[in-house]
């Protein structure tokens, strides 16, 4: 499979076979982004979002310098579209007809306007690429069990109870392991002050 400069060149020329190949490579990426555990779309909804993201990618190909940038681009497009769809669906479900933030009510039962996945929604493709290398490095430095717990909970949305059963350990131990993994993540992120600042801004 040609994922290099030649494929990108053919894409920019609008060559149909190159686009066919690219859609097949990138569809799983877009689909996985649309199935972000915090967004909770059904497979059918995620499929719609993924195809929409691929369509939006087409005019953006001229801005890209390397084929792999398309991966980050389509993933961020799909994540935003998925969050947007989730908001619409939630608003419809409430029957208000308004587009509201997701999540939560306060003690008085009033809705707290807390976005569903604020970092995912605001993440730029460049930030995602930078974070990919960084997070992979941190995960690679963890012992196998901690890495599996962090990935299971934070990448795949498994609950602590599920992880505790899978790994035959108390729930408390799952939390402690994940907490230590997160502290390592944070240490590494803080070594990139600009990126860290951007990410914290996304949370606000």
């Amino acid at each position: 499979m040609d994922n290099g400069p030649e494929l990108l060149k053919r894409l920019k020329q609008g060559e149909e076979s190159a686009w066919d190949e690219t859609f097949r490579i990138l569809y799983p990426c877009a689909f996985a982004a649309a199935r972000h555990p915090s967004v909770c779309l059904t497979p059918e909804e995620a499929e719609d979002v993924a195809v929409e993201a691929l369509e939006k990618l087409v005019p953006k190909v001229v801005q890209v310098g390397q084929f792999d940038e398309l991966r980050a681009l389509v993933v961020t497009i799909a994540a935003r579209a998925a969050i947007s769809l989730r908001r619409k669906l939630s608003a419809q479900k409430r029957g208000s007809g308004q587009t509201l933030s997701l999540n939560e009510t306060n003690e008085e039962g009033q809705e707290i306007h807390q976005p569903v996945a604020p970092v995912a929604e605001n993440l730029a493709p460049l930030e995602l690429r930078e974070l990919s290398g960084l997070l992979k490095g941190v995960l690679g430095g963890m012992d196998d069990l901690t890495r599996q717990l962090v990935e299971g909970n934070l990448a795949r949305g498994k609950t602590y109870r599920q992880l505790a059963e899978e790994h035959a350990m108390p729930i408390g131990t799952v939390g402690v392991r994940i907490a230590r993994g997160l502290k390592k993540m944070r240490e590494q992120l803080e070594k990139r002050p600009e990126l860290w600042k951007e990410l914290r801004n996304h949370l606000r």
Binding site: E16, R24, R35, V75, A120, G172, M185, L203
Partner: protein, 222 residues
């Protein structure tokens, strides 16, 4: 509250899995000790960022599921729209289609109406027009097929139009359905009943022109 218990409860709280008692324990610890409060905030930030970003990092390298076949057509149409003549470079491919009659654009359907015999303009051709630049390709001429061109501004207009029944005076319509790669023919049969027939849609303009000519001839009868 010892360090381990604090981490356990904080993480369960962030994941939405903590009991009310555990939440109270964390809140009390944070109120009583600024260091705990700081630790809680640091864990919270790391948790939310990692929770949001890690699935997207993994997503970039996913290889399943496969793109469903029925989704390919609309994506190809998006490419055609983007790289239509006058909008950017494009190379002729297996599913390419340059619009007849000098109309540019990346339309996905071609529509023809066949009116009753004896009329001067027997066929009306319609395209969805998305570009304004005229192409030099005029392989299919209105004059040759005795057609009149109709243009739709977008697919929505066309869809609305094609949903309507045939207008009085017309007895058939034909359109090229790029998504399913067929030519669809809808005509009035015996007793005014509508009959549909499909033909394989050729990939080249020359072949499409040939098939369209045959269909029109067939509909016109001997």
């Amino acid at each position: 509250m010892n360090q381990e218990l604090f981490e356990q409860c904080t993480l369960k709280m962030l994941a939405g899995e903590a009991t009310p008692e555990e939440i109270l324990q964390v809140e009390t610890a944070c109120r009583q000790d600024p260091l705990r409060e700081r630790e809680f905030q640091e864990l919270r930030e790391a948790y939310l960022i990692t929770r949001d970003v890690l699935p997207l990092v993994s997503a970039q390298f996913e290889e399943v599921p496969e793109l469903p076949e029925y989704r390919v057509g609309p994506l190809q149409a998006a490419v055609r729209r983007q790289f239509a003549p006058g909008k950017g470079p494009r190379r002729e491919g297996a599913w390419g289609w340059a619009w007849p009659l000098g109309l540019a654009g990346a339309a996905c359907v071609l529509l023809a109406f066949l009116y009753g015999p004896g009329q001067t303009e027997l066929i009306e051709l319609a395209v969805i027009r998305e570009g304004t630049v005229r192409s030099a390709e005029t392989e299919l001429s209105a004059k040759e097929l005795k057609v009149m061109v109709r243009e739709f501004e977008d697919e929505k207009q066309f869809e609305a139009w094609v949903q309507k029944p045939l207008t009085t005076g017309s007895r058939a319509r034909i359109w090229f359905d790029e998504e399913t790669e067929v030519i669809r023919v809808e005509r009035r049969g015996d007793g005014g009943r509508m009959v549909q027939k499909t033909y394989r849609l050729p990939s080249s303009n020359v072949e499409r022109q040939k098939v369209l000519r045959q269909i029109v001839a067939e509909l016109n009868g001997p």
